[in-house]
Symmetry: C2
Subunit: 425 residues, 2 copies
Amino acid sequence: MVPHLTTALSGPLLDLERQILAATPRIEYWFRSRWHEHAAPFYTSVDLRNSGFKLAPVDTNLFPGGFNNLNPDFIPLAVQAAMVAVEKICPDAQKLLLVPENHTRNVFYLQNVARLASILRQTGLEVRIGSLIPDLDAPLRLDLGGGESLLLEPMVRNGRRVGLADYDPCAILLNNDLSGGVPELLRDIEQSLLPPLEAGWHVRRKSKHFAAYDRVAAEFSQLIDIDPWLINPYFASCSGIDFQARQGESCLEQQVADLLSRIRLKYQQYGIESPPFVIIKADAGTYGMGIMTVKDPAEVRDLNRKQRNKMAVVKEGLQVSDVIIQEGVYTFESINEAVAEPVVYMMDHFVIGGFYRVHTGRGVDENLNAPGMHFVPLAFETPCCTPNQFANPDSTPNRFYTYGVVARLAMLAASLELEDMRKGS
Amino acid sequence: MVPHLTTALSGPLLDLERQILAATPRIEYWFRSRWHEHAAPFYTSVDLRNSGFKLAPVDTNLFPGGFNNLNPDFIPLAVQAAMVAVEKICPDAQKLLLVPENHTRNVFYLQNVARLASILRQTGLEVRIGSLIPDLDAPLRLDLGGGESLLLEPMVRNGRRVGLADYDPCAILLNNDLSGGVPELLRDIEQSLLPPLEAGWHVRRKSKHFAAYDRVAAEFSQLIDIDPWLINPYFASCSGIDFQARQGESCLEQQVADLLSRIRLKYQQYGIESPPFVIIKADAGTYGMGIMTVKDPAEVRDLNRKQRNKMAVVKEGLQVSDVIIQEGVYTFESINEAVAEPVVYMMDHFVIGGFYRVHTGRGVDENLNAPGMHFVPLAFETPCCTPNQFANPDSTPNRFYTYGVVARLAMLAASLELEDMRKGS
């Protein structure tokens, strides 16, 4: 069951889907040549927003959780894609150590880890779970419900190798986004570490990602002759912010005003009557903390104490000093009156599926990945790799194909972003 | 619904499945290293026989038909695998020409061609169908039923390129096994031709394939410490046969006697009480023509005219002069009293699914791929890449995983066989 779009699709989005579908051979050829030059991340998830006139990525996660929300029918796709990833990145690997986040009480997250471990085991790897929980000195078995459990084991450093007491893996796969920095245990190890350390939120910046996405979206838009704005949200950034000390508010106010006026021009061009808005979020970090929706520059001038506190700190207590101001994209997808946001999952350069975050208590202009958010995952009913040239552009397989194309653009941007970081630019 | 094995599995096969399952990491690691050194064929299907004590490939097809018999749910797996194949073999391809057999009246075969074209289109290739039908001078639209049709177009040669009048493809994919030899049109062309010409039955020999399989099965059996006979049928070959002139019968008789006595020893070793048998078939060619089941060497001495005629000629009227004598493997899989034979499909080095040939009118010791054979295809209900370490070795996903492993061994043998042919050995 695909969330029903509340807007009739007769405007730009239907055109976009039509153009993408018609250009499939050119698009896939282009992607092949891009992946020839750039290495895809091991795995990626991309949050998309579909406003009925615009389809754009709003966040790209290089340590995706949520594998438990994927349609179980498509797990073989994930296994096959993981086989390709394993072949490329660590052809000699037989033993892998999966290192998750330290949330031992989030059963949904633990189910994600279990699902991921299961996919990797089905590629023929031996997989055990190594934990970064401080002071964990014995294996910890966590109950996942339904008779399943997950065994976290203390990690051990041995010279330049890391592993478990009786387990020396060839590769380490992080499902921990390193928001709190790189643990000593993982520094300067000789084994393959996936994704590389520079993908962690201790150094990664959303503004760098979206700068790379600008380049990708421009090239792609030229390829299929569309306005890049249709797939690319405007953004700006401010650094040196101190929300609690009210430093940097003028940069914020100015960038918000500038973005809103640029969006307003585009809305006029396309005859869109909704009010433009922007999202302000921490430039580093994830988990939807430190996020606000703004429709008027004045709003950032008058932040009250509660708002300032909310914006000042993200995951692991990190202080926010750099923010990204991103064009807000309305979510016009809904199911049973609840708003829905698609999340697309990839392993290596393959789209393996996705799901909708369906949230009843949130508006069409709000972030749906927020702390304490209780979304209902709704797995995509078809995978994203089966476009049907003979069906309507907005038919289910074709809509998901379009989602897969835009998500792959964001993944390509992440590849460029990581390359730039390795070059130290 | 998996065909129900009529024998209780407590003997060697259950052991084999258990050993394969336990060795999954070693097996997948070994396959990764093999595919690092050897290129997988573009696509392959392998006929397996499961006797309850032995699981072995009996035929390896490099121009597989029957894609229409696969479970539609797994088509995304085929699309993803085809993407890998296309990336590797013709990364620059946007336009592909698919060249099928000339059977315009076999609707099942045409549905296979349509399904294959659809899979390839979903990888983002432009695909048209070029026909080798002599004297075809205009496009021919063939009805597939259900409102579907297939457009065959006359092929055109232009210097060293081949294509359609208004279509210059980058690559040609043969779904025509070249039993009748290589058409002038396809000789010495500059485009990529897949599979290579040496995969055609005009030069390929089953005995070369099974000689390569001997090497693969020996290495694999050492890897997981099993008796290679459990996955490898004995075989021998005779050349210079003329069935109609009764030439070469003594070679046949001697090889049959020799094989039967070797099989008998193995049957004694494993306590198997069924009578051994061998299959005699043309060393070149497919489609199950020119095949007979023999349980006594005397049978090949006393061939009557009808049997001699049947053995003398295969597809496209080719005279049979070389035969392979292969250990017969009982089929002990059945469903509703009908015997069943699994066929496993692969694209690049990935198993993408399979189906059972279910045949009510044939015995457990007969070839199920025979002319005029009306089998009922029964798609595998799970793909072959999701072994479950926590389930029984003979549970559905694990049985199919085992099938996928043995089929991949046969595919690897085909890779070695093609390499040998290129080297001219």
